[in-house]
Symmetry: D2
Protein backbone atom coordinates (compact mmCIF):
# COMPACT_ATOMS: atom_id res chain seq x y z
CA UNK A 1 0.00 0.00 0.00
CA UNK A 2 1.36 3.38 -1.01
CA UNK A 3 -0.09 6.81 -0.31
CA UNK A 4 -1.43 8.99 -3.15
CA UNK A 5 -2.31 11.95 -0.90
CA UNK A 6 -0.78 13.44 2.23
CA UNK A 7 -2.54 15.09 5.17
CA UNK A 8 -2.56 18.55 3.60
CA UNK A 9 -4.08 17.18 0.39
CA UNK A 10 -6.79 15.38 2.39
CA UNK A 11 -7.62 18.60 4.25
CA UNK A 12 -7.85 20.55 0.98
CA UNK A 13 -10.15 17.87 -0.46
CA UNK A 14 -12.50 18.00 2.54
CA UNK A 15 -12.58 21.81 2.48
CA UNK A 16 -13.62 21.74 -1.20
CA UNK A 17 -15.98 18.78 -1.27
CA UNK A 18 -17.56 18.68 2.19
CA UNK A 19 -18.13 22.24 3.23
CA UNK A 20 -20.75 21.20 5.79
CA UNK A 21 -18.28 19.15 7.83
CA UNK A 22 -14.93 20.71 6.99
CA UNK A 23 -14.42 22.18 10.45
CA UNK A 24 -15.36 19.03 12.34
CA UNK A 25 -12.53 16.70 11.38
CA UNK A 26 -8.73 16.90 11.49
CA UNK A 27 -6.37 14.24 10.18
CA UNK A 28 -3.80 13.80 12.94
CA UNK A 29 -1.70 10.99 11.50
CA UNK A 30 -1.41 9.13 8.19
CA UNK A 31 0.73 6.20 7.11
CA UNK A 32 0.33 3.40 4.55
CA UNK A 33 -2.74 1.47 5.69
CA UNK A 34 -3.47 3.61 8.76
CA UNK A 35 -4.98 6.98 9.71
CA UNK A 36 -6.00 8.87 12.86
CA UNK A 37 -8.80 11.45 12.60
CA UNK A 38 -9.90 13.76 15.43
CA UNK A 39 -13.40 15.16 15.81
CA UNK A 40 -13.98 18.22 17.92
CA UNK A 41 -17.13 17.53 19.89
CA UNK A 42 -19.29 20.61 19.62
CA UNK A 43 -22.72 21.21 21.10
CA UNK A 44 -24.48 20.00 17.98
CA UNK A 45 -23.05 16.51 18.49
CA UNK A 46 -24.29 16.15 22.06
CA UNK A 47 -27.25 14.29 23.53
CA UNK A 48 -28.87 14.80 26.96
CA UNK A 49 -26.36 13.91 29.67
CA UNK A 50 -23.46 15.24 27.65
CA UNK A 51 -22.87 12.10 25.63
CA UNK A 52 -21.88 12.23 21.97
CA UNK A 53 -24.68 11.21 19.63
CA UNK A 54 -24.58 7.96 17.69
CA UNK A 55 -24.84 9.78 14.33
CA UNK A 56 -21.80 11.89 15.24
CA UNK A 57 -19.78 8.74 15.97
CA UNK A 58 -21.03 7.14 12.76
CA UNK A 59 -19.95 10.29 10.90
CA UNK A 60 -16.48 10.12 12.43
CA UNK A 61 -16.03 6.44 11.51
CA UNK A 62 -17.33 7.05 7.99
CA UNK A 63 -15.11 10.08 7.35
CA UNK A 64 -12.12 8.19 8.74
CA UNK A 65 -12.68 5.27 6.36
CA UNK A 66 -13.30 7.60 3.43
CA UNK A 67 -10.16 9.67 3.97
CA UNK A 68 -8.05 6.55 4.53
CA UNK A 69 -9.25 5.08 1.24
CA UNK A 70 -8.82 8.36 -0.67
CA UNK A 71 -5.30 8.69 0.68
CA UNK A 72 -4.52 5.43 -1.14
CA UNK A 73 -6.50 5.88 -4.38
CA UNK A 74 -6.41 9.65 -4.85
CA UNK A 75 -9.21 12.24 -4.73
CA UNK A 76 -12.15 10.32 -6.20
CA UNK A 77 -15.32 11.68 -4.64
CA UNK A 78 -17.41 8.79 -5.94
CA UNK A 79 -16.35 6.17 -3.44
CA UNK A 80 -19.52 5.32 -1.50
CA UNK A 81 -20.23 3.48 1.73
CA UNK A 82 -22.10 0.23 1.11
CA UNK A 83 -22.00 -1.27 4.60
CA UNK A 84 -21.23 -0.15 8.12
CA UNK A 85 -21.37 -2.12 11.34
CA UNK A 86 -20.91 -0.32 14.66
CA UNK A 87 -20.61 -1.41 18.28
CA UNK A 88 -21.14 1.29 20.89
CA UNK A 89 -19.22 0.21 23.97
CA UNK A 90 -18.63 3.06 26.43
CA UNK A 91 -19.88 6.56 27.09
CA UNK A 92 -17.50 9.20 25.73
CA UNK A 93 -15.87 11.54 28.22
CA UNK A 94 -17.68 14.88 28.42
CA UNK A 95 -16.05 17.74 26.55
CA UNK A 96 -13.22 15.67 25.09
CA UNK A 97 -12.47 15.30 21.38
CA UNK A 98 -12.90 11.87 19.85
CA UNK A 99 -10.02 10.13 18.11
CA UNK A 100 -10.66 7.52 15.45
CA UNK A 101 -7.94 5.12 14.32
CA UNK A 102 -8.64 3.46 10.96
CA UNK A 103 -6.91 0.47 9.40
CA UNK A 104 -7.20 -0.37 5.72
CA UNK A 105 -7.83 -4.14 5.74
CA UNK A 106 -8.52 -4.51 2.03
CA UNK A 107 -8.10 -2.31 -1.01
CA UNK A 108 -9.48 -4.28 -3.94
CA UNK A 109 -10.53 -3.22 -7.42
CA UNK A 110 -14.16 -2.69 -6.51
CA UNK A 111 -14.36 -2.88 -2.70
CA UNK A 112 -12.34 -1.53 0.22
CA UNK A 113 -12.72 -2.60 3.86
CA UNK A 114 -11.69 -0.47 6.83
CA UNK A 115 -12.03 -1.07 10.53
CA UNK A 116 -11.89 1.68 13.12
CA UNK A 117 -11.67 2.20 16.87
CA UNK A 118 -12.94 5.41 18.45
CA UNK A 119 -11.52 6.67 21.75
CA UNK A 120 -12.29 9.67 23.91
CA UNK A 121 -9.10 11.66 24.38
CA UNK A 122 -7.58 10.73 27.73
CA UNK A 123 -9.82 7.70 28.41
CA UNK A 124 -8.87 4.01 28.30
CA UNK A 125 -11.21 1.62 26.59
CA UNK A 126 -12.64 2.33 23.16
CA UNK A 127 -15.93 4.21 22.94
CA UNK A 128 -16.97 2.49 19.73
CA UNK A 129 -15.79 0.04 17.06
CA UNK A 130 -16.75 0.20 13.41
CA UNK A 131 -16.16 -1.67 10.19
CA UNK A 132 -17.01 -0.17 6.84
CA UNK A 133 -17.11 -1.33 3.23
CA UNK A 134 -16.76 1.15 0.38
CA UNK A 135 -17.59 0.56 -3.25
CA UNK A 136 -14.85 2.10 -5.41
CA UNK A 137 -15.40 3.88 -8.72
CA UNK A 138 -13.93 2.16 -11.80
CA UNK B 1 -46.52 -7.01 22.25
CA UNK B 2 -48.70 -4.21 23.55
CA UNK B 3 -48.16 -0.47 23.21
CA UNK B 4 -47.39 1.69 26.27
CA UNK B 5 -47.27 4.98 24.33
CA UNK B 6 -49.17 6.34 21.34
CA UNK B 7 -47.91 8.64 18.59
CA UNK B 8 -48.77 11.83 20.50
CA UNK B 9 -46.90 10.56 23.59
CA UNK B 10 -43.85 9.72 21.46
CA UNK B 11 -43.86 13.20 19.94
CA UNK B 12 -44.07 14.81 23.38
CA UNK B 13 -41.19 12.66 24.60
CA UNK B 14 -38.98 13.68 21.66
CA UNK B 15 -39.85 17.35 22.11
CA UNK B 16 -38.79 17.21 25.77
CA UNK B 17 -35.76 14.91 25.59
CA UNK B 18 -34.25 15.55 22.17
CA UNK B 19 -34.61 19.21 21.49
CA UNK B 20 -31.82 19.10 18.90
CA UNK B 21 -33.72 16.74 16.61
CA UNK B 22 -37.36 17.32 17.54
CA UNK B 23 -38.23 18.97 14.24
CA UNK B 24 -36.54 16.34 12.08
CA UNK B 25 -38.70 13.30 12.73
CA UNK B 26 -42.42 12.57 12.59
CA UNK B 27 -44.02 9.27 13.59
CA UNK B 28 -46.44 8.49 10.77
CA UNK B 29 -47.77 5.11 11.90
CA UNK B 30 -47.53 2.92 14.99
CA UNK B 31 -48.87 -0.55 15.76
CA UNK B 32 -47.75 -3.38 18.03
CA UNK B 33 -44.31 -4.37 16.76
CA UNK B 34 -44.18 -1.82 13.92
CA UNK B 35 -43.55 1.88 13.33
CA UNK B 36 -43.07 4.27 10.40
CA UNK B 37 -41.00 7.42 10.95
CA UNK B 38 -40.55 10.20 8.38
CA UNK B 39 -37.51 12.47 8.18
CA UNK B 40 -37.75 15.76 6.39
CA UNK B 41 -34.56 16.10 4.39
CA UNK B 42 -33.23 19.56 5.03
CA UNK B 43 -30.09 21.15 3.67
CA UNK B 44 -28.04 20.11 6.69
CA UNK B 45 -28.55 16.43 5.80
CA UNK B 46 -27.33 16.77 2.24
CA UNK B 47 -24.03 15.90 0.61
CA UNK B 48 -22.63 17.10 -2.72
CA UNK B 49 -24.86 15.90 -5.53
CA UNK B 50 -28.00 16.25 -3.42
CA UNK B 51 -27.73 12.86 -1.74
CA UNK B 52 -28.67 12.38 1.90
CA UNK B 53 -25.67 11.87 4.16
CA UNK B 54 -24.93 8.52 5.77
CA UNK B 55 -25.08 10.01 9.28
CA UNK B 56 -28.57 11.37 8.55
CA UNK B 57 -29.74 7.91 7.49
CA UNK B 58 -28.10 6.36 10.54
CA UNK B 59 -29.90 8.93 12.69
CA UNK B 60 -33.24 8.06 11.09
CA UNK B 61 -32.75 4.31 11.65
CA UNK B 62 -31.60 4.88 15.22
CA UNK B 63 -34.50 7.17 16.13
CA UNK B 64 -36.95 4.75 14.52
CA UNK B 65 -35.65 1.85 16.62
CA UNK B 66 -35.59 3.96 19.77
CA UNK B 67 -39.16 5.21 19.39
CA UNK B 68 -40.43 1.75 18.50
CA UNK B 69 -38.87 0.30 21.65
CA UNK B 70 -40.09 3.15 23.87
CA UNK B 71 -43.59 2.74 22.49
CA UNK B 72 -43.50 -0.78 23.97
CA UNK B 73 -41.65 -0.19 27.27
CA UNK B 74 -42.69 3.37 28.11
CA UNK B 75 -40.63 6.58 28.29
CA UNK B 76 -37.28 5.33 29.62
CA UNK B 77 -34.59 7.57 28.24
CA UNK B 78 -31.79 5.20 29.26
CA UNK B 79 -32.19 2.65 26.51
CA UNK B 80 -28.94 2.83 24.53
CA UNK B 81 -27.83 1.54 21.14
CA UNK B 82 -25.19 -1.18 21.47
CA UNK B 83 -24.96 -2.31 17.84
CA UNK B 84 -26.01 -1.07 14.43
CA UNK B 85 -25.44 -2.62 11.04
CA UNK B 86 -26.37 -0.67 7.93
CA UNK B 87 -26.43 -1.45 4.21
CA UNK B 88 -26.62 1.54 1.88
CA UNK B 89 -28.24 0.32 -1.33
CA UNK B 90 -29.55 3.16 -3.49
CA UNK B 91 -29.25 6.91 -3.81
CA UNK B 92 -32.19 8.72 -2.21
CA UNK B 93 -34.38 10.81 -4.48
CA UNK B 94 -33.47 14.50 -4.36
CA UNK B 95 -35.73 16.68 -2.22
CA UNK B 96 -37.94 13.83 -1.02
CA UNK B 97 -38.53 12.91 2.64
CA UNK B 98 -37.23 9.57 3.84
CA UNK B 99 -39.57 7.01 5.36
CA UNK B 100 -38.26 4.39 7.75
CA UNK B 101 -40.28 1.29 8.62
CA UNK B 102 -39.14 -0.45 11.81
CA UNK B 103 -40.04 -3.95 13.03
CA UNK B 104 -39.51 -5.04 16.64
CA UNK B 105 -37.98 -8.50 16.25
CA UNK B 106 -37.16 -9.07 19.91
CA UNK B 107 -38.09 -7.34 23.16
CA UNK B 108 -36.24 -9.19 25.89
CA UNK B 109 -35.43 -8.26 29.48
CA UNK B 110 -32.08 -6.72 28.67
CA UNK B 111 -31.88 -6.48 24.85
CA UNK B 112 -34.20 -5.40 22.06
CA UNK B 113 -33.61 -5.98 18.34
CA UNK B 114 -35.16 -3.89 15.57
CA UNK B 115 -34.73 -4.02 11.83
CA UNK B 116 -35.58 -1.16 9.53
CA UNK B 117 -35.97 -0.34 5.85
CA UNK B 118 -35.55 3.23 4.60
CA UNK B 119 -37.27 4.40 1.42
CA UNK B 120 -37.32 7.70 -0.42
CA UNK B 121 -40.90 8.88 -0.74
CA UNK B 122 -42.17 7.92 -4.19
CA UNK B 123 -39.27 5.63 -5.11
CA UNK B 124 -39.28 1.83 -5.39
CA UNK B 125 -36.41 -0.06 -3.88
CA UNK B 126 -35.14 0.63 -0.39
CA UNK B 127 -32.42 3.26 0.05
CA UNK B 128 -30.95 1.53 3.10
CA UNK B 129 -31.45 -1.37 5.48
CA UNK B 130 -30.51 -1.34 9.14
CA UNK B 131 -30.59 -3.60 12.17
CA UNK B 132 -30.08 -2.28 15.68
CA UNK B 133 -29.66 -3.72 19.15
CA UNK B 134 -30.58 -1.70 22.21
CA UNK B 135 -29.60 -2.41 25.80
CA UNK B 136 -32.60 -1.84 28.05
CA UNK B 137 -32.50 -0.30 31.54
CA UNK B 138 -33.49 -2.63 34.39
CA UNK C 1 -37.13 -8.94 -10.69
CA UNK C 2 -37.70 -12.07 -12.74
CA UNK C 3 -36.64 -15.62 -11.97
CA UNK C 4 -34.00 -17.39 -14.07
CA UNK C 5 -34.21 -20.70 -12.18
CA UNK C 6 -37.03 -22.60 -10.51
CA UNK C 7 -36.89 -24.77 -7.37
CA UNK C 8 -35.95 -27.93 -9.26
CA UNK C 9 -33.10 -26.12 -11.03
CA UNK C 10 -31.81 -24.80 -7.69
CA UNK C 11 -31.88 -28.29 -6.18
CA UNK C 12 -29.97 -29.71 -9.18
CA UNK C 13 -27.38 -26.93 -8.87
CA UNK C 14 -26.81 -27.63 -5.16
CA UNK C 15 -26.56 -31.38 -5.77
CA UNK C 16 -23.84 -30.79 -8.38
CA UNK C 17 -21.89 -27.95 -6.82
CA UNK C 18 -22.23 -28.44 -3.06
CA UNK C 19 -22.12 -32.15 -2.45
CA UNK C 20 -21.15 -31.60 1.21
CA UNK C 21 -24.38 -29.82 2.06
CA UNK C 22 -26.82 -31.09 -0.57
CA UNK C 23 -28.91 -33.08 1.92
CA UNK C 24 -29.15 -30.30 4.49
CA UNK C 25 -31.24 -27.72 2.64
CA UNK C 26 -34.57 -27.80 0.80
CA UNK C 27 -36.07 -24.84 -1.06
CA UNK C 28 -39.69 -24.76 0.09
CA UNK C 29 -40.92 -21.67 -1.74
CA UNK C 30 -39.60 -19.30 -4.41
CA UNK C 31 -41.05 -16.15 -5.95
CA UNK C 32 -39.56 -13.00 -7.49
CA UNK C 33 -37.55 -11.40 -4.69
CA UNK C 34 -38.34 -14.03 -2.05
CA UNK C 35 -37.36 -17.57 -1.02
CA UNK C 36 -37.95 -19.97 1.89
CA UNK C 37 -35.29 -22.58 2.65
CA UNK C 38 -35.65 -25.36 5.25
CA UNK C 39 -32.73 -26.94 7.09
CA UNK C 40 -33.16 -30.32 8.70
CA UNK C 41 -31.41 -30.07 12.06
CA UNK C 42 -29.27 -33.16 12.43
CA UNK C 43 -26.99 -34.11 15.29
CA UNK C 44 -23.97 -32.48 13.67
CA UNK C 45 -25.64 -29.06 13.96
CA UNK C 46 -26.34 -29.32 17.67
CA UNK C 47 -24.62 -27.86 20.70
CA UNK C 48 -24.89 -28.93 24.36
CA UNK C 49 -28.46 -28.41 25.56
CA UNK C 50 -29.91 -29.30 22.17
CA UNK C 51 -29.55 -25.84 20.65
CA UNK C 52 -28.57 -25.34 17.01
CA UNK C 53 -25.02 -24.09 16.56
CA UNK C 54 -24.29 -20.58 15.36
CA UNK C 55 -22.31 -21.86 12.35
CA UNK C 56 -25.31 -23.96 11.28
CA UNK C 57 -27.54 -20.88 11.39
CA UNK C 58 -24.95 -18.86 9.52
CA UNK C 59 -24.82 -21.63 6.91
CA UNK C 60 -28.60 -21.56 6.52
CA UNK C 61 -28.68 -17.76 6.07
CA UNK C 62 -25.79 -17.88 3.62
CA UNK C 63 -27.28 -20.67 1.49
CA UNK C 64 -30.63 -18.90 1.51
CA UNK C 65 -29.09 -15.68 0.20
CA UNK C 66 -26.99 -17.54 -2.36
CA UNK C 67 -29.91 -19.53 -3.78
CA UNK C 68 -32.14 -16.46 -3.86
CA UNK C 69 -29.53 -14.54 -5.84
CA UNK C 70 -28.82 -17.44 -8.21
CA UNK C 71 -32.53 -17.86 -8.85
CA UNK C 72 -32.44 -14.32 -10.27
CA UNK C 73 -29.11 -14.33 -12.12
CA UNK C 74 -28.80 -17.97 -13.16
CA UNK C 75 -26.32 -20.67 -12.08
CA UNK C 76 -23.12 -18.65 -11.57
CA UNK C 77 -21.09 -20.38 -8.89
CA UNK C 78 -18.76 -17.42 -8.50
CA UNK C 79 -21.02 -15.15 -6.48
CA UNK C 80 -19.27 -14.77 -3.12
CA UNK C 81 -20.33 -13.48 0.27
CA UNK C 82 -18.53 -10.26 1.18
CA UNK C 83 -20.41 -9.31 4.36
CA UNK C 84 -22.78 -10.94 6.80
CA UNK C 85 -24.34 -9.51 9.93
CA UNK C 86 -26.31 -11.79 12.24
CA UNK C 87 -28.41 -11.25 15.36
CA UNK C 88 -29.13 -14.35 17.44
CA UNK C 89 -32.37 -13.68 19.28
CA UNK C 90 -33.98 -16.85 20.65
CA UNK C 91 -33.08 -20.46 21.28
CA UNK C 92 -34.36 -22.76 18.53
CA UNK C 93 -36.92 -25.40 19.48
CA UNK C 94 -35.32 -28.80 20.04
CA UNK C 95 -35.66 -31.27 17.18
CA UNK C 96 -37.48 -28.90 14.85
CA UNK C 97 -36.30 -27.91 11.37
CA UNK C 98 -35.31 -24.30 10.80
CA UNK C 99 -37.03 -22.19 8.16
CA UNK C 100 -35.26 -19.22 6.61
CA UNK C 101 -37.14 -16.56 4.67
CA UNK C 102 -34.95 -14.44 2.41
CA UNK C 103 -35.80 -11.15 0.70
CA UNK C 104 -33.76 -9.76 -2.18
CA UNK C 105 -33.39 -6.07 -1.26
CA UNK C 106 -30.97 -5.16 -4.04
CA UNK C 107 -29.73 -6.84 -7.18
CA UNK C 108 -27.18 -4.50 -8.69
CA UNK C 109 -24.49 -5.03 -11.31
CA UNK C 110 -21.78 -5.86 -8.82
CA UNK C 111 -23.50 -6.28 -5.43
CA UNK C 112 -26.63 -7.99 -4.15
CA UNK C 113 -28.15 -7.51 -0.68
CA UNK C 114 -30.43 -10.04 1.01
CA UNK C 115 -31.99 -10.04 4.43
CA UNK C 116 -33.28 -13.14 6.15
CA UNK C 117 -35.31 -14.23 9.16
CA UNK C 118 -34.85 -17.70 10.64
CA UNK C 119 -37.66 -19.41 12.56
CA UNK C 120 -37.95 -22.74 14.32
CA UNK C 121 -40.86 -24.66 12.83
CA UNK C 122 -43.87 -24.19 15.09
CA UNK C 123 -42.39 -21.39 17.22
CA UNK C 124 -43.34 -17.71 17.23
CA UNK C 125 -40.55 -15.16 17.30
CA UNK C 126 -37.59 -15.38 14.98
CA UNK C 127 -34.55 -17.34 16.15
CA UNK C 128 -32.13 -15.18 14.18
CA UNK C 129 -31.92 -12.31 11.72
CA UNK C 130 -29.28 -11.93 9.04
CA UNK C 131 -28.27 -9.56 6.29
CA UNK C 132 -25.79 -10.55 3.61
CA UNK C 133 -23.98 -8.85 0.76
CA UNK C 134 -22.76 -10.83 -2.23
CA UNK C 135 -20.27 -9.72 -4.84
CA UNK C 136 -21.51 -10.79 -8.27
CA UNK C 137 -19.33 -12.04 -11.12
CA UNK C 138 -19.17 -9.80 -14.19
CA UNK D 1 -8.18 -7.40 32.49
CA UNK D 2 -6.81 -10.45 34.26
CA UNK D 3 -6.96 -14.06 33.11
CA UNK D 4 -9.05 -16.64 35.00
CA UNK D 5 -8.05 -19.58 32.79
CA UNK D 6 -4.85 -20.55 30.97
CA UNK D 7 -4.49 -22.36 27.65
CA UNK D 8 -4.58 -25.82 29.21
CA UNK D 9 -7.78 -24.97 31.10
CA UNK D 10 -9.40 -23.69 27.89
CA UNK D 11 -8.48 -26.89 26.06
CA UNK D 12 -9.94 -29.03 28.87
CA UNK D 13 -13.13 -26.97 28.80
CA UNK D 14 -13.57 -27.42 25.04
CA UNK D 15 -12.87 -31.16 25.28
CA UNK D 16 -15.61 -31.52 27.90
CA UNK D 17 -18.24 -29.12 26.59
CA UNK D 18 -17.83 -29.16 22.82
CA UNK D 19 -17.03 -32.69 21.83
CA UNK D 20 -18.16 -32.05 18.25
CA UNK D 21 -15.48 -29.44 17.62
CA UNK D 22 -12.76 -30.29 20.13
CA UNK D 23 -10.29 -31.46 17.50
CA UNK D 24 -10.78 -28.46 15.21
CA UNK D 25 -9.36 -25.64 17.32
CA UNK D 26 -6.10 -25.06 19.17
CA UNK D 27 -5.35 -22.02 21.33
CA UNK D 28 -1.89 -20.92 20.24
CA UNK D 29 -1.44 -17.83 22.39
CA UNK D 30 -3.26 -16.13 25.26
CA UNK D 31 -2.63 -12.88 27.12
CA UNK D 32 -4.85 -10.38 28.95
CA UNK D 33 -7.25 -9.08 26.30
CA UNK D 34 -5.85 -11.15 23.42
CA UNK D 35 -5.93 -14.69 22.03
CA UNK D 36 -4.79 -16.57 18.92
CA UNK D 37 -6.73 -19.67 17.86
CA UNK D 38 -5.73 -21.99 15.01
CA UNK D 39 -8.17 -24.07 12.98
CA UNK D 40 -6.93 -27.05 11.05
CA UNK D 41 -8.72 -26.91 7.71
CA UNK D 42 -10.05 -30.38 7.04
CA UNK D 43 -12.04 -31.60 4.04
CA UNK D 44 -15.37 -30.94 5.78
CA UNK D 45 -14.61 -27.22 5.85
CA UNK D 46 -13.90 -26.92 2.14
CA UNK D 47 -15.99 -25.66 -0.73
CA UNK D 48 -15.50 -26.24 -4.47
CA UNK D 49 -12.21 -24.72 -5.58
CA UNK D 50 -10.53 -25.57 -2.27
CA UNK D 51 -11.72 -22.48 -0.44
CA UNK D 52 -12.72 -22.61 3.22
CA UNK D 53 -16.47 -22.36 3.75
CA UNK D 54 -18.05 -19.27 5.28
CA UNK D 55 -19.59 -21.30 8.13
CA UNK D 56 -16.16 -22.67 9.02
CA UNK D 57 -14.76 -19.12 9.23
CA UNK D 58 -17.76 -18.01 11.27
CA UNK D 59 -17.16 -20.97 13.60
CA UNK D 60 -13.51 -19.99 14.03
CA UNK D 61 -14.37 -16.36 14.85
CA UNK D 62 -17.12 -17.43 17.25
CA UNK D 63 -14.96 -19.95 19.10
CA UNK D 64 -12.14 -17.40 19.31
CA UNK D 65 -14.43 -14.82 20.91
CA UNK D 66 -15.96 -17.40 23.24
CA UNK D 67 -12.62 -18.71 24.49
CA UNK D 68 -11.22 -15.21 24.91
CA UNK D 69 -14.20 -14.21 27.04
CA UNK D 70 -14.13 -17.42 29.10
CA UNK D 71 -10.43 -16.95 29.74
CA UNK D 72 -11.39 -13.69 31.50
CA UNK D 73 -14.60 -14.72 33.30
CA UNK D 74 -13.97 -18.41 33.98
CA UNK D 75 -15.71 -21.52 32.60
CA UNK D 76 -19.32 -20.34 32.27
CA UNK D 77 -20.88 -22.23 29.40
CA UNK D 78 -23.90 -19.95 29.26
CA UNK D 79 -22.30 -17.00 27.51
CA UNK D 80 -24.13 -16.74 24.18
CA UNK D 81 -23.46 -14.90 20.93
CA UNK D 82 -26.01 -12.17 20.32
CA UNK D 83 -24.47 -10.46 17.28
CA UNK D 84 -21.81 -11.20 14.71
CA UNK D 85 -20.68 -9.12 11.76
CA UNK D 86 -18.24 -10.61 9.26
CA UNK D 87 -16.39 -9.26 6.25
CA UNK D 88 -14.94 -11.85 3.87
CA UNK D 89 -12.00 -10.21 2.14
CA UNK D 90 -9.67 -12.74 0.51
CA UNK D 91 -9.62 -16.38 -0.50
CA UNK D 92 -7.79 -18.53 2.05
CA UNK D 93 -4.67 -20.33 0.87
CA UNK D 94 -5.39 -23.96 -0.04
CA UNK D 95 -4.37 -26.53 2.55
CA UNK D 96 -3.18 -24.01 5.13
CA UNK D 97 -4.52 -23.68 8.69
CA UNK D 98 -6.38 -20.52 9.58
CA UNK D 99 -5.21 -18.33 12.44
CA UNK D 100 -7.66 -16.06 14.25
CA UNK D 101 -6.47 -13.22 16.46
CA UNK D 102 -9.09 -11.95 18.90
CA UNK D 103 -9.07 -8.73 20.94
CA UNK D 104 -11.36 -8.19 23.92
CA UNK D 105 -12.66 -4.65 23.36
CA UNK D 106 -15.19 -4.62 26.17
CA UNK D 107 -15.93 -6.88 29.14
CA UNK D 108 -18.98 -5.39 30.83
CA UNK D 109 -21.41 -6.87 33.35
CA UNK D 110 -23.87 -8.09 30.75
CA UNK D 111 -22.14 -7.73 27.35
CA UNK D 112 -18.69 -8.45 25.96
CA UNK D 113 -17.37 -7.28 22.57
CA UNK D 114 -14.56 -8.97 20.66
CA UNK D 115 -13.08 -8.25 17.28
CA UNK D 116 -11.08 -10.75 15.28
CA UNK D 117 -8.88 -11.00 12.21
CA UNK D 118 -8.48 -14.31 10.38
CA UNK D 119 -5.36 -15.05 8.34
CA UNK D 120 -4.26 -18.02 6.28
CA UNK D 121 -0.95 -19.27 7.60
CA UNK D 122 1.81 -17.85 5.43
CA UNK D 123 -0.34 -15.30 3.56
CA UNK D 124 -0.35 -11.52 3.91
CA UNK D 125 -3.68 -9.77 4.08
CA UNK D 126 -6.47 -10.96 6.34
CA UNK D 127 -8.93 -13.50 4.93
CA UNK D 128 -11.79 -12.21 7.08
CA UNK D 129 -12.67 -9.74 9.81
CA UNK D 130 -15.29 -10.31 12.47
CA UNK D 131 -16.83 -8.54 15.44
CA UNK D 132 -18.95 -10.38 17.97
CA UNK D 133 -21.10 -9.47 20.96
CA UNK D 134 -21.74 -11.99 23.72
CA UNK D 135 -24.40 -11.80 26.39
CA UNK D 136 -22.88 -12.86 29.72
CA UNK D 137 -24.65 -14.90 32.42
CA UNK D 138 -25.34 -13.07 35.71
Amino acid sequence: MTLEMDIAALHRFVAQQFVQVKDDFVVEALAPGAITVAMDVGARHLRPGGTVSGPAMFALADVTAYLLILAHIGPKALAVTTNCSLDFMRKPAAGQPLLCEGRLLKLGKSLAVVDALIHSAGQDGAVARASLTYSLPK
